[in-house]
Structure formats: structure tokens, C-alpha cells
Symmetry: C2
Subunit: 428 residues, 2 copies
């Protein structure tokens, strides 16, 4: 008997109908002879509604109490789902993060897992139950206070349980059919990928693909958990995310011997570009700037330094940060003007990032050429460039991003013969 972990997001359990639909799928899986562990998010907009209430009662809610409040959301969805499953004749028990042994540090709102001890879940399975676990939540090891795992938390709960219970697969359900070669809302001829490696998925997630959260992919990769990203609205096969070649042979879908050149294109509109103009081109200046930002926990993504020319040892330094941290970054730099010594600051949040990801590009020098040629042919200007072994990212003007995604998608022969069906919803 195999063990399957299934994770359902908030849009899949938005109302009583959704809960019953998900319950039927869970019972079907069990009836095929599998042990089933389910991880569920809060219903629909519950989390946002609770946050609104919190801000109605006070301006700055304490983080400990915010976590206590938000965890009520999954408590409701998991209990209702357990009821619905039981009502269909399959015994089910729900467990909070704490009951399921999701032990974390004390960083309320963004807690990290320090231990996963699903003893009660194991016991419940052994008694013949389907175990339904609240995503997104844990308990602080020392204080026993309730914590939440932050963004992508429910996916992380699912993968962590799959790892701890040695599950055969961790199915991540949403309202889209799987991982696509690009966002079908932008590139209508995007194709669903059957298999993608963890390494590529990491790059896609890190660079704007929203289907899986970076943290969950990292966790799955580290612990060798196979992910199956699929839709709760159909029974189609989704996309398998396979930890590494060594696991491929035991997977239901084998990774093809020849890696495809490119697996997909991710895009990201949430970045802003900061340029520090006219900084002295001498050792230690860049370090000073980025230490300043790191100390304030500003995440810097791409960095480009112009080559200084002539006698004047001044240069320009550009980098991107998440838009939400743009103001913070700018005020830190302004406050440190004397210490750093620069001529000016520029800020641009009308930028977009496009990333081409593919393990095959490691051994194919033609990729870079095709990529830049496609953008040049469409007359799309490139602001910044960065690369890794399996990725090329560029920053363009925000209003050219969609076109950039489409032309690159075509240039690499990723277009399918038919347009993708785009489901409603957020796919979170």
C-alpha cells in the first residue's frame, strides 16, 4: 500500500460545494487502495477576512496573536473537510499543525520548521483513518505558542509531512493543470510540462512562476520528495517535479534521457530597479551598499555594475529588489549618502523580469544567442542581465514584458498547436 499526501489550496475549498468535491477526490484516492494524508489551506478568502478584522481592532496587531487568529482559518476548513469525507463513508480525523508535530522556531508569521514529528498522524493512519492536517501552521518548540509558516506555508506543510512519513508522492492541487512553459494568460500557446527537474522548478519558482513556492520546492529537493502538481477540477495528469536523476528510475514518469533544451519561461512584475549613480569605482563600495541593505533584511536579486571608462573612477551600480522593499532600500541609501558617496539615486518600479529556464542550456551555447536575437527582433530593450547554469534572466520595461514572454516562447519552439485553457482563480 502506498501513501499519498494531497494538498488542497484555499480556492479548492472555497465553499461547501468545493469541500465536498475535494472530499470525493480524497475518497476516490483511498478507494484505489492508498493511505491518504491531506493538507488543507483556509477556505477561499478567510485569511484575508481575518486580517481585515485584526486591522479593524488595532493598528499593529502583535505577531503572536495574529498567528493565533489566522490558524483558525485552517481549523475550520480541515474540520469541515474531515466531516465531508466521513459523510462519504471514509473515516477521517483532522489535526492542527501542533497536533501533527509541525515544530517550528519562534518567528511568528514566518516560522521555520525545526522538527516534524507526525506521530499522531501515523497513528491515525494505522487505525485506518484519512488524516487531514491544517497547512501553514506549527507550534514553537520552546514557548508552545502557535506559529504560522508564512507564504507558501501549506505547500511546505505538505512536503514536510510527505518527507517525514516517507510518502510515495506529494500531490499539490490547485486550479491549474500543472506547470506550464509560460503563464498561459500571457502566452496562450504555453504547454503543460509532463516532467520538470527540481533544479529547473527551483529556478522557475525563484523567478516568478507562482504555481509552487520556492520554499516548498527547496524542501522537496532536499528530502527527495516527488511532487505532482495538478488540478483539483480535472483528473488529468499534471506535472511531476522530480528531485534528481537518481530518483528518476523509481518514479512513475521517467525523466527523458535527453533533457529538453528549455523547460519554461517565468516572469515577475514585482521587482523594482534601484540605480546608484556615480559611485567611486574602488574596492569595498559595493560591499558597503549591500551590507547596508542586508542588515535591514532587504532582499537584493539582480546586480549590475557598469564598467567605468576614462580617467574618472566613477561607476553606476544597479540592482533589483522586491517592490514592497523599494521605499526601504531608497531611504537606507539616502541616509547613507555621505558614507557611500554617490552622485544620485534612481528608482524605477516599471520594470519586469523574464527568466528562461532549462537544464539543457548547460551544454548548449546557442541558447543565449537565440534568446537575445528574439528580443532584439521584437525591438525589446534589455536593462539588466543575469545568468545561472540553467537560467538566463533579463530586466525589461514592464510594458514590454508580455511581448517578451511570447517572442521568447516562440523562438524556442515551445508553442503548442492549440491554446491553453485558462481556469479562473488564483492558483495559489
Amino acid at each position: 500500500m502506498s501513501l499519498i499526501v494531497q494538498k488542497f489550496g484555499g480556492s479548492s475549498v472555497a465553499d461547501a460545494d468545493g469541500i465536498r468535491r475535494v472530499a470525493r477526490r480524497i475518497v476516490e484516492t483511498r478507494n484505489r487502495g492508498h493511505d491518504v494524508v491531506v493538507v488543507v489551506s483556509a477556505m477561499g478568502d478567510t485569511t484575508d477576512e481575518l486580517l481585515d478584522l485584526a486591522h479593524e481592532v488595532t493598528r499593529k496587531p502583535p505577531a503572536r496573536e495574529l498567528d493565533m487568529l489566522l490558524t483558525a482559518g485552517e481549523r475550520i476548513s480541515m474540520a469541515l473537510l474531515a466531516m465531508a469525507v466521513s459523510g462519504m463513508g471514509a473515516p477521517a480525523q483532522s489535526f492542527t499543525g501542533s497536533q501533527a508535530g509541525m515544530v517550528t522556531d519562534g518567528a511568528h508569521g514566518a516560522a521555520l520548521l525545526v522538527e516534524v514529528n507526525p506521530l499522531r498522524v501515523r497513528e491515525s493512519l494505522d487505525q485506518g483513518n484519512i488524516a487531514i492536517i491544517a497547512g501553514f501552521q506549527g507550534v514553537h518548540r520552546q514557548t508552545k505558542d502557535i506559529t504560522t509558516l508564512g507564504r507558501g506555508g501549506s505547500d511546505t506543510t505538505a512536503v514536510a509531512l510527505a518527507a517525514a512519513l516517507d510518502a510515495d508522492v506529494c500531490e499539490i492541487y490547485s486550479d491549474v493543470d500543472g506547470v506550464f512553459t509560460a503563464d498561459p494568460r500571457i502566452a496562450p500557446r504555453a504547454r503543460k510540462l509532463d516532467v520538470v527537474s527540481s533544479e529547473e522548478m527551483l529556478e522557475l519558482a525563484a523567478n516568478g512562476a507562482k504555481i509552487l513556492h520556492l520554499r516548498c520546492v527547496e524542501y522537496a529537493r532536499r528530502f527527495g520528495v516527488k511532487l505532482h502538481v495538478r488540478s483539483s477540477f480535472s483528473h488529468n495528469e499534471g506535472t511531476w517535479v522530480i528531485p534528481g536523476p537518481e530518483d528518476a528510475v523509481t518514479s512513475p514518469k521517467e525523466i527523458p534521457l535527453e533533457q529538453p533544451l528549455i523547460s519554461g519561461i517565468a516572469h515577475d512584475r514585482t521587482q523594482a530597479k534601484v540605480t546608484v549613480v556615480g559611485v567611486p569605482d574602488k574596492p569595498g563600495i559595493a560591499a558597503r551598499i549591500f551590507r547596508l541593505l542586508a542588515e535591514a533584511k532587504v532582499n537584493v536579486d539582480m546586480i549590475v555594475q557598469n564598467i567605468s571608462t576614462g580617467d574618472d573612477p566613477l561607476t553606476d551600480l544597479s540592482f533589483t529588489v522586491d517592490e514592497s522593499q523599494g521605499d526601504l532600500a531608497m531611504s537606507l541609501l539616502r541616509a547613507a549618502e555621505e558614507k557611500i558617496g554617490y552622485a544620485g539615486l534612481e528608482y524605477d518600479d516599471e520594470v519586469g523580469k523574464l527568466s528562461l529556464v532549462g537544464a539543457g542550456m548547460k551544454s548548449n551555447p546557442g541558447v543565449t544567442f537565440t534568446f537575445f536575437e528574439a528580443l532584439a527582433a521584437a525591438n525589446i530593450n534589455i536593462d539588466m542581465i543575469s545568468t545561472s547554469e540553467v537560467r538566463i534572466s533579463v530586466v525589461t520595461a514592464a510594458d514590454r514584458l508580455d511581448e517578451a514572454v511570447r517572442v521568447v516562447h516562440s523562438a524556442f519552439g515551445l508553442d503548442s498547436d492549440e491554446e491553453a485553457t485558462v481556469h479562473a482563480g488564483t492558483g495559489r
Copy 2:
């Protein structure tokens, strides 16, 4: 420094405004130099809304999951209340029933407390916090499953914590000013009582007064907890419920040396009368009937057996049960027709019960006379009578109950000079 436990019902925290109003009162109490422990119910109609959802997903939700679901209600209200209190500058921490050490048996939906260990609450107080605890919930000692205490559960949580923490007083807040000599909606000249003994309060609660639940009064009496029943909408003194004469001297309000004759009138419309007609008047028959009902957990309240006359050894046996158990009682009796042997069954749910309560009646034989005379003068027929040391109860036709309350209230000189103000709301 004294320790005050304050309990706020759902109508007091129905929305963000209510939560802030309650938070202000908590902070005021603390600013007067008291340690404060707060017990809170779910916001407004949350519990009913969750129950509706449960019945939308399945016809018969499992009790374990229902408890898991419902406890989300207090989790939300307690976290929001802790935020609001913190926002007003007083540090606060919320605790679930489980975290507060409310250990119960495994009777989901109606769990009994088997142990109260508020270690974390004590610790939080010692650190200078206001502790805010979810009412109505606990954790099963063996399975560690979440349980709920059933009806009146939040009041019981408050009293149990007050007892375990040796609090100076347990304040029960609702939207009415205290315990009245009768329901002011029926007897507009009802007066608020300043003090009432636990014994009298028990009789009032057991016989239909809804302001305090029987279970909470019993608990308070057993553990010597002083209750102060008051309104969260005013700062008026409410009603003190004092455990016993031996405690009276240390209470803020001394019980008068001379007990007032009557403390109040309770009424109850939720009962139904069952009559078993023509049963053999011989030993063992009544026992057989009531064993039958007890085994099915039907609660029988008043019992009257007519005197059989003449040669025919047949009699009629009447008793009252809660309306909600009326159908069950009738079908049990019908099924046992042969075993019991009776001529017929009668069922009447158009009945009302009026109870006159007063410790003073023990030593005053005139009470019974005045009581029945008042009803007779108003031409109100009495169906059944039962008495205790401090109570007389009668069953009348439901449509005569209000008038009965008013005439008895007047006959015992309980009318005040002015009409009582009746607040909106349920006062639960």
C-alpha cells in the same frame, strides 16, 4: 493585588466595535491595579454560522470534528481581543482551552472538566500580561483531542479558572444589568437583585432563569467562587452570587442577616407534559417508566401521580421533559406499551413552568398560601406542583404564564416603583 476573572459572552464581542469596548473595560480593570484573566465566547453568531456550514457539507457531522470546528470561533474572538487590549497599551496573551489546561473527559459536545491546570495562564500573569482564554473548550485527557463543554460552557470555563487561580471574583458580563426578580420583558416592574445566595441562584437557573447556566452556578457553589453578574454596556453594580453564609463576611457585599422572603421568579417555556393514563397503581410501575427514560438520557423534571380512587387500581402519571426530548419520550413509551400496560398517552407542549425561589420561605409557612391565592385570584389553573426547601414550581397553560409571573411578582411585593430598562440582545 487581587485577581479578577472576567467573562464576556458572544453578544459583547459581536464586532470590532464590541471587541474594542470590551478591551477598554479590561484595561480599566487592570489600571485599577488588578490582575485580569478574561474568558471570551465566539463572536456574535459565529457558532451558529459554523454549525450551518457543517450541516452543508454533511448530514451527520462526527462529534470530534464538530468540536474541532466550533473551537475556531473562540480562537478568533480571543486573538482579536488580545490584539485590541495590546493596542491599548496593556500586554495581553491569548490561550486556547487546551493551552489553559482545561482537561476534560471525551464526551465531545458536552465534555466534563476532569482537571484544571492553568500553568501557562499563571505564568503569563506573572510576566505582567492580561491572559485571555477561549471559553467553552478543553482537551481530552487521554486522546488529546479537542473537546467542547456544551451549553453554558464559557461561564463554566470562567468559574473553573477563577477556582483554580483562587480569584477574588468571577465577573460574568452580558447585556443585562444582573439577576432580576423576574424577566423584565414579562414583568416590567422586576427589580435587579443586589445579592443572591448560590442556593437560590441554583433554583432560579434550574427553573428557567437564563442569565446564568446551572452548571456554572453549581461549580461556583462547590468551589466557593463569588460571581458578579453585570452588564458590559454600563458600569453599574450587578448582582453578587455568594456561595454560602460562611463566605459572606469576606465578600464586598454582605448578605443581609434577615434573608428576604423571596429572591425571584423564574419561568420556563421549554417543557412539555407527558401523561401516562390508566397505569396499574402498584409498586414498580413508576420505576419501570422512569428507568426506561433514564436509560435513553431523557431528563425528567416534575412528576405528579394522581391518587387512585375506588376499587380500580389504575392511576395517571404525569411528568415534564424538555420539549426537545418530547418525541423521544413518547416513542419510548409507545414501544413499551405492553411491558408497562397503560390505557393511553397524552402529550402537551403548550405548558409553562413558573418557579418562586427564596431562601426565606424555609421558615415562612405563609408563602405557599400567598402564592396559590394570587394565582387563584387571576383564575389561572394549576396543572402540576412541585416544591423544594427554597422553591415552589407550578405548571400552567403556556398562554397564562406571563400573567402568572406578573400576579405572583406583585403578590410578594417585588414590584419596583419604576419600569426596568430592557436591553436588546440575548444575554447569553
